[in-house]
Each structure stands twice: as structure tokens, then as C-alpha cells.
């Protein structure tokens, strides 16, 4: 536990981190009535991009037209601003705890290339899953749990339950 604050290996006590995260979540509900999220910003950006490239396509698509096209402004969105804030907040924390460094983090047993391929694949699956489940670990599971949403709990159990099994299958990539 005695790690120097300056070699990048110091982390907050996880319970303190949890209390901070929970308080931020609570404030988010108090101020805006919404929880925290991340994947919604991706959805809005994709919809906005497609809207610029092929507006007719947005009008025809049963999925895009829910939040893009017409007079809707998918880019002017709470979630986009929040994501920018997340990047800034992480950057500040990186400065304080001396963790800013461009690198690919991976297990010593695998190559960077393999790590990046798996990260990409994981991102694709996660992106797909967030749309189906209407939210990710923060938006659906964490924020959902805070307001006792049944769907939030179901999503949380499905994510962690599956990840537990899948992580053991893929354990050579990690340990």
C-alpha cells in the first residue's frame, strides 16, 4: 500500500473512489435528473455523422430517425459535453498522480498488436451491446442501479456474469 504518489502507481482507496463516484452520480441526478453515461455520446456522434453524409438515409432508418434528422440536433447534447468533461477529468487526475503517458497497456505475455486487436474487437462488441441494451455499464447499469431500475440491474448482472466467463476463456490475454 505504500506506493509513491509520483511513480504513477498510486491509486485512491477504492472505497474513497466509490464514494466520489457515487457523489458525482448523485449530483448528476440532483442537477439534471439524469445519471452519468458514455455510450450515448457515441450513438449521437454516429447519427450526426451519418446525417451529414447521407441525410436521406437517416430519414429512412427506423433507428437513426429517433434521434437525428429533421430539426433534431444530435451533437448539441448533454452526453457529448459530459464526455468532454470525462476526458478532462481523467487528464487532471493523470497530471496529479503522474500517469500521463502514451502507451499500450498489455500483459507481458502478449504483443501490443494483439492487445490492440482485442481492444478493437471488444469496442465493437461493446458498442453494439450498448445500443441493444440502451446503455452501458455507467448509463444503464450504474445509473440504473442508483434509481433502482429493474433493467439496470438486469443489464449489470448480464454484463458482469458474461464477462466473468469470457475473461476465463480469454485469460491468456490478461495473466
Amino acid at each position: 500500500m505504500k506506493k509513491s504518489k509520483y511513480d504513477g502507481s498510486f491509486y485512491l482507496n477504492p472505497y474513497l473512489g466509490g464514494v466520489i463516484l457515487g457523489t458525482v452520480l448523485l449530483l448528476s441526478f440532483y442537477i439534471s435528473g439524469r445519471g452519468l453515461g458514455a455510450s450515448g455520446a457515441v450513438k449521437n456522434t454516429v447519427a450526426a455523422t451519418v446525417n451529414v453524409v447521407a441525410p436521406q438515409h437517416v430519414e429512412q432508418s427506423a433507428y437513426y430517425c429517433q434521434f437525428a434528422g429533421g430539426d433534431k440536433e444530435p451533437m448539441s447534447n448533454w452526453l457529448i459535453y459530459e464526455v468532454l468533461g470525462v476526458l478532462a477529468g481523467a487528464f487532471i487526475s493523470g497530471i496529479i498522480f503522474n500517469r500521463l503517458k502514451l502507451k499500450v497497456e498489455h500483459s507481458p505475455k502478449i504483443t501490443s498488436r494483439r492487445r490492440l486487436i482485442f481492444a478493437l474487437g471488444g469496442g465493437v462488441l461493446f458498442g453494439f451491446g450498448t445500443q441493444l441494451a440502451r446503455g452501458c455499464t455507467s448509463g444503464a447499469a450504474l445509473s440504473g442501479m442508483a434509481v433502482l431500475s429493474f433493467g439496470g440491474y438486469i443489464t449489470m448482472i448480464a454484463i458482469f456474469g458474461t464477462a466473468f466467463i469470457a475473461a476465463w476463456v480469454l485469460r491468456k490475454n490478461w495473466i
Binding site: 491509486y11 485512491l12 477504492p14 472505497y15 473512489g17 466509490g18 466520489i20 463516484l21 457515487g22 457523489t23 441526478f29 442537477i31 439524469r34 458514455a38 454516429v46 433507428y63 459530459e82 468533461g85 478532462a88 477529468g89 481523467a90 487532471i92 498522480f97 503517458k101 502514451l102 502507451k103 499500450v104 482485442f118 481492444a119 478493437l120 474487437g121 471488444g122 462488441l125 461493446f126 458498442g127 451491446g129 450498448t130 441493444l132 440502451r134 446503455g135 452501458c136 455499464t137 455507467s138 448509463g139 450504474l142 445509473s143 442508483a146 434509481v147 433502482l148 429493474f150 433493467g151 439496470g152 443489464t155 448482472i157 448480464a158 454484463i159 458474461t162 464477462a163 466473468f164 495473466i175
Partner: protein, 197 residues
């Protein structure tokens, strides 16, 4: 002031985006400083060498649940105005399973990948980029999944209603379960071989 203060019109909606940035910064700071920018630290939960995800996630969940109920009790938050995710059972489960596989492959979830990008982790950036492909793929193939997407709809259902108990009682059990999990995690972590990362 009765929250949520934006939808109750106490402050103008223009402040909405400013609050979004500030809250996002708090979110990003909490994630990064707890170690969520490191995929190997996150994934440690599944191998028993680092339970930071369980500890942070469930501490945040119980703090926010208990806090919201207290705010509601003292009349500071109008619970009926909060956004409660509607429940679509089938898509929540299938989507959750797909995300679980993605989680084990990529080692991140969307929020933590952003925290990783914030401190310069390229694997986080690639993961986040992958999400765009995933979202695009879903949107383009939406007609194939449309039935699943809307099936099992139960509206904004609350979990305490599933068990037929009050929100307060459910939260009490949730806290008990979380605390039990924390002590269990500490016990497992002692038994498992340490992995350097």
C-alpha cells in the same frame, strides 16, 4: 431547492451543458484516480487479483441509491422526475451478454476507456474507436434486431416492485449485499496469487 434543478426550471437549461462538463470532469477524475484507466487493473476482478471494479462500482451504487432516497425523503429531490431507464427484458439481457464479451476482450467499458484516453492509453483509444463501428453496425442492421429491441417491454419498472418491497427496504438489502461482497473480495484477494501489472 427541489431537484432535479434543471427540469424544475430553477436554473435555465443553458446551464445544462456547463453542468454536463463539470459532472463529466468529476466522473473522469473518480474513474482515473481509482485506477479505471488501466485495463489490467479492471480485468483483475475476474481473476481475483484486484477487486477495484467491484469496490468502486458497488460503493458508488449504494452511495447514490441511499443518497437519492434521503434527498427524496427530505423533499430535496422529486423522485418522479428522475430518468428511470425503461426495462426491455430481452434486449437488456442480450445486450448485456454482448457487452460482457466485449468487456472481457477489451478490458474496458465506455466510461473507463474515456478515462484511459485521458491519460494517453492507446488501447483505450482503439476500444473507443471500435465502439463507433459497433454502434454503426447496430444502426445499419437495426431492422434485423427491431423485434428484439422492443420485446419484453415493461416500462420504467423499479426493482423493488419486482420483489414487492419498498425502495428503502430494497436499498437496505443492497447495502448488506454490497458490504458482504466487499469483505468477500478482501478474503479472496488474500488467497489469490498476486499478479504484477
Amino acid at each position: 431547492m427541489i431537484g432535479p434543478i434543471i427540469s424544475s426550471g430553477i436554473v435555465s437549461p443553458a446551464w445544462d451543458n456547463i453542468f454536463a462538463v463539470i459532472l463529466g470532469m468529476g466522473f473522469g477524475f473518480a474513474l482515473e484516480s481509482s485506477g479505471f484507466s488501466s485495463s489490467r487493473k479492471i480485468i483483475g476482478t475476474f481473476f481475483g487479483y484486484d477487486f477495484v471494479v467491484v469496490k468502486v462500482f458497488f460503493t458508488a451504487a449504494i452511495v447514490a441509491s441511499v443518497g437519492l432516497l434521503y434527498l427524496s425523503y427530505f423533499g430535496l429531490v422529486d423522485y418522479s422526475q428522475l430518468y428511470i431507464q425503461p426495462t426491455f427484458l430481452t434486449s437488456a439481457i442480450v445486450g448485456g451478454i454482448i457487452m460482457g464479451i466485449g468487456f472481457a476482450m477489451g478490458g474496458f467499458c465506455p466510461g473507463t476507456s474515456l478515462a484511459a484516453i485521458g491519460v494517453g492509453r492507446m488501447d483505450g483509444l482503439v476500444f473507443f474507436g471500435g465502439m463507433f463501428i459497433g454502434v454503426f453496425a447496430f444502426s445499419e442492421s437495426f431492422s434485423l434486431f427491431e423485434n428484439m429491441f422492443y420485446s419484453g417491454s415493461q416500462g420504467p419498472k423499479m426493482i423493488n416492485d419486482v420483489f414487492g418491497i419498498s425502495p428503502e427496504l430494497f436499498t437496505f438489502f443492497l447495502v448488506l449485499a454490497a458490504v458482504g461482497m466487499f469483505f468477500g473480495a478482501a478474503w479472496v484477494q488474500k488467497k489469490v496469487k498476486k499478479v504484477e501489472y
